[in-house]
């Protein structure tokens, strides 16, 4: 009589039933929704973006741009502070990552050492100051850079979320990765280019007065821009240039709302409302400057520069050369707010919904055909024992699906390949046992003994060989990215479940059969 302890039977039955329960919702699912199986605990398998369609974007926040910008800000503050304290300086410059200036006089002689120290200390803890002789250099220190990166990335994530998922319904994954990277995964995207347009601009909106002292042509030919002003391109191609005052009168942070609409000539435009502070400032500027053109500047390009006709308060309209889709996108990004830094796309993988559906269909066919062929081959090779192995193989597939659902791991296209491959390899453990039983039978053992010996002798081989494969899969998981990770997941799960099914499920079936039939002879 072959032994198979009751508790083991219980474990096998329990695990198989649990697997079936968790795998079941996938059978009835439609478009990822559980249909008619709401009473079951499991959820459907999480499909990867390559199967359900969607966009995967790895973005980098351009920290260098933020640093350079902060340096400009610091140099302006320093200029004011030093003047106030009447400390004489020269060549105050903001570089890419540092601000430098030189003192004209010996600071000890002028007795302003403590004032200078206060000014430098007031810059904050994020900066290091270096002095050599009369030259002073200010840079971000390690902690300062870290703070800046944290702030920039966190703000960017918030803004990206508001731009991509304004209604909070799409469940995008937006995660920080490493120091300055952001991973965006957005399922079900029809037009990946639109996504990139939405996050591809900082959308910094400012209103600045146009400088009337000179014209763009004059500035261009003489190479000189009046002090306090700057030459900006038009947003339209071939739209020329404008000289606008550097001073920002009103900026996008003061926006309360923005929406797409039309101007009086029925051309697409963006309507905006300012908050109380913005309305107050806008009213003051427009009241004082009637008759002057007021430039609407978006990401350092002049969208338009209408002449102020009358004093305007809380709301206005951005006109320009837009189509309806562009005004919709512009209104959306303005509502979401400006990004603290430009985003650079480092990696993109987008799959349309059509290809995803085709991939699932192809994967299903390949899996079914593979399964059928392996089943036939096993029966042809081992007869009844082949049938046992085939039952175990099917349990194996159900367990993989159940485990994927229960763990909410992501199934990718290579993941499907992993499942199909495991079906081929899953029978290996059974094959090892069966071949061993054959040998034992040839060696003259009786049936029950041969089965017992076959299992015990094959055990160490099965463990050794599967563990080594598991190592390879583990390294794939650790080092792999995206789809490859999905392959590693199903392969690893497959190895574990196939060891279980071969050692427990097939064995249980064989033991039940042998104890019921008490075969004198076994043809294997």
């Amino acid at each position: 009589m072959l032994q198979f302890e009751t508790w083991k039977k219980a474990v096998v039955i329990f695990l198989v039933i649990t697997g079936i329960i968790y795998a079941l919702p996938n059978l009835f699912s439609q478009n990822g929704e559980k249909a008619g199986t709401a009473f079951l605990p499991g959820q459907t398998i999480n499909l990867g973006l390559d199967l359900q369609g969607g966009s995967h974007l790895l973005l980098q926040t351009d920290l260098n741009a933020v640093i350079a910008e902060r340096m400009v800000g610091i140099s302006e503050n320093l200029r004011l502070a030093l003047r106030e304290e009447k400390i004489r300086f020269r060549s105050l410059k903001a570089g890419k990552d540092e601000v430098t200036f030189s003192l004209r006089d010996d600071i000890i002689d002028t007795g302003k050492q403590s004032q200078l120290d206060t000014i430098l200390r007031d810059l904050g803890r994020d900066f290091d100051t270096q002095r050599s002789g009369q030259n002073i250099t200010i840079r971000f220190n390690e902690a300062g850079l870290q703070n800046l990166a944290n702030q920039t990335v966190e703000q960017s994530i918030e803004i990206i979320r508001r731009r991509l998922d304004p209604d909070g319904t799409k469940e995008p994954v937006i995660q920080r990765q490493g120091k300055d990277r952001i991973l965006v995964q957005l399922p079900g995207v029809d037009d990946p280019e639109r996504i990139k347009r939405l996050i591809g601009r900082t959308a910094r909106l400012t209103f600045q007065l146009v400088d009337m002292r000179s014209t763009a042509q004059e500035a261009r030919s003489s190479g000189r821009v009046p002090p306090g002003s700057v030459l900006l391109e038009s947003a339209d191609e071939g739209g020329g240039e404008y000289i606008v005052e550097k001073r920002v009168m009103v900026s996008g942070e003061l926006l309360e709302n923005a929406s797409a609409g039309f101007d009086q000539n029925s051309r697409p435009a963006v309507n905006f409302q300012l908050n109380a502070e913005g309305a107050r400032r806008f009213g003051r500027v427009t009241g004082e400057n009637i008759g002057r053109p007021f430039a609407i500047v978006l990401d350092n390009k002049v969208v338009s520069a209408p002449v102020i006709q009358s004093q305007i308060f809380g709301s206005g309209q951005i006109t320009g050369n837009f189509n309806v889709a562009e005004t919709n996108e512009l209104a959306l990004v303005l509502r979401a707010g400006a990004l603290p830094a430009p985003l650079i796309v480092l990696e993109e993988r987008s799959v349309g919904p059509g290809l995803g559906a085709d991939s699932i269909a192809a994967g299903e066919i390949a899996a079914l055909v593979g399964l059928a062929l392996v089943i036939i081959y096993m029966v042809m090779s081992y007869g009844l024992f082949g049938v046992f192995a085939d039952i175990a193989l099917m349990v194996n597939v159900v367990l993989i699906l159940g485990a994927l659902s229960a763990l909410q791991a992501t199934l990718t296209l290579p993941g499907i390949a992993g499942i199909v491959l495991t079906m081929g390899m899953a029978v290996d453990a059974n094959v090892l046992v069966f071949e061993r039983i054959r040998e034992e039978l040839r060696g003259g053992r009786r049936v029950a003994q041969a089965i017992e010996a076959g299992y015990s002798r094959a055990l160490s081989t099965i463990i050794d060989s599967n563990l080594t494969t598991l190592f390879a899969a583990l390294f794939l998981f650790v080092f792999g990215s995206g789809p490859v990770k999905g392959f590693a997941v199903t392969l690893s799960l497959g190895i574990v479940t196939s060891m279980f099914t071969a050692l427990m499920v097939t064995r249980l079936l064989i033991v039940l059969w042998a104890n019921a039939k008490r075969p004198k002879q076994l043809e294997l």
């Binding site: 790895l58 991939s359 040998e439 080594t468 190592f471």
Partner: protein, 312 residues
């Protein structure tokens, strides 16, 4: 009762006799692979090299010539266009653009707008140069770490000779696979790398099964000559080796035929791996340990642990 048996019940093939020939062939193949790798190089996919890949589907039959004509006008440098899967599908590969990541993104937009409404963009992949270099680095690290972990495990479970032999057999499989990719010019991408690691896993699986039997027989037939033991072990495990290779191959062929164009290259690489892995387990791994003088004593720690159901 009918049984399909690809291998006779008790084969007696003199495997070790072929080891010198196989060894020669393998050394030549490995050297050729290394040569091909350095002289011809791999056809690196955008995963490692950076670049753009776009899969588009025409509403009607795709006119590859017309697409090529249109895209070449954009002046994006080297563009490869091929049909992919069905006659409606085209795969467009564009080399890495001059300049930073922004230039690449701009190129994608140019291509999609040039293709126009007649094409449905099914897949867009873009890997910037920074990420490409990182992926390559991580990939190489993954292969090396996996090989060493496997070696250490084998060393732990068997004698050091087995460990060396297994590692060399594995290196043989990996190198010749890389050589095959250099020779055929098939694209080498992340999926290929995954295939190579899986090949390593499969091959070691096979090797371990044979080694297990060698270890067992070394203890069982103490008076036998070492070569005879190795040969017997190979013959005893041959039936299983063939059986498992065939089932795995069947599953892979199902993927090749029905799994779609994206998985096809991956499955082809795996199919090669199954073949070479089986070969290397026999002729390289066992061939190598036949050159060592193996320890024959049965130390306590070398015993196969008695399974619990045998103890009870």
């Amino acid at each position: 009762m009918f049984r399909l048996k690809l291998v006779p019940s008790v084969p007696s093939i003199h495997f070790l006799k072929y080891v010198p020939i196989a060894g020669g062939v393998s050394i030549a193949a490995v050297l050729a692979s290394i040569g091909l790798f350095f002289l011809v190089g791999l056809n690196l996919g955008i995963d490692f090299r950076g670049g753009i890949l776009i899969e588009a589907q025409s509403k009607t039959t795709a006119d590859i010539g017309a697409v090529r004509g249109d895209l070449e006008k954009l002046g994006l440098g080297d563009i490869a266009i091929q049909s992919f899967g069905t006659e409606k599908d085209v795969l467009i590969r564009v080399q890495k653009q001059e300049g930073d990541e922004r230039a690449q993104v701009a190129a994608i937009e140019k291509i999609t707008s040039s293709l126009g409404d007649g094409y449905d963009i099914r897949r867009t992949e873009f890997v910037g140069p920074t990420v490409g270099a990182e992926l390559a680095e991580k990939g190489i690290l993954a292969v090396i770490c996996a090989l060493f972990a496997i070696m250490i495990y084998i060393w732990f479970r068997f004698e050091w000779q087995f460990s060396i032999a297994a590692l060399l057999a594995l290196a043989h499989d990996v190198l010749t696979t890389v050589g095959l990719f250099a020779l055929t010019g098939f694209e080498f991408n992340l999926a290929t790398l995954a295939a190579i690691l899986t090949i390593a896993g499969y091959s070691i699986n096979d090797t371990v099964v044979v080694f297990d039997r060698v270890r067992e027989n070394l203890r069982k037939y103490k008076s036998w000559d070492q070569g005879k033991i190795l040969n017997r072990s190979l013959n005893e495990t041959l039936s299983r080796t063939v059986m498992t290779s065939v089932t795995t191959a069947i599953a892979l062929i199902a993927i090749i035929l029905f799994g779609g164009a994206v998985l096809r290259d991956f499955a082809l690489a795996m199919l090669w791996g199954v073949t070479i892995g089986t070969y290397s387990s026999i002729f390289i791994a066992v061939g190598l340990i036949s050159r060592f003088d193996l320890k024959r004593s049965d130390d306590e720690d070398n015993q196969i642990p008695t399974p619990e159901y045998e103890r009870s």
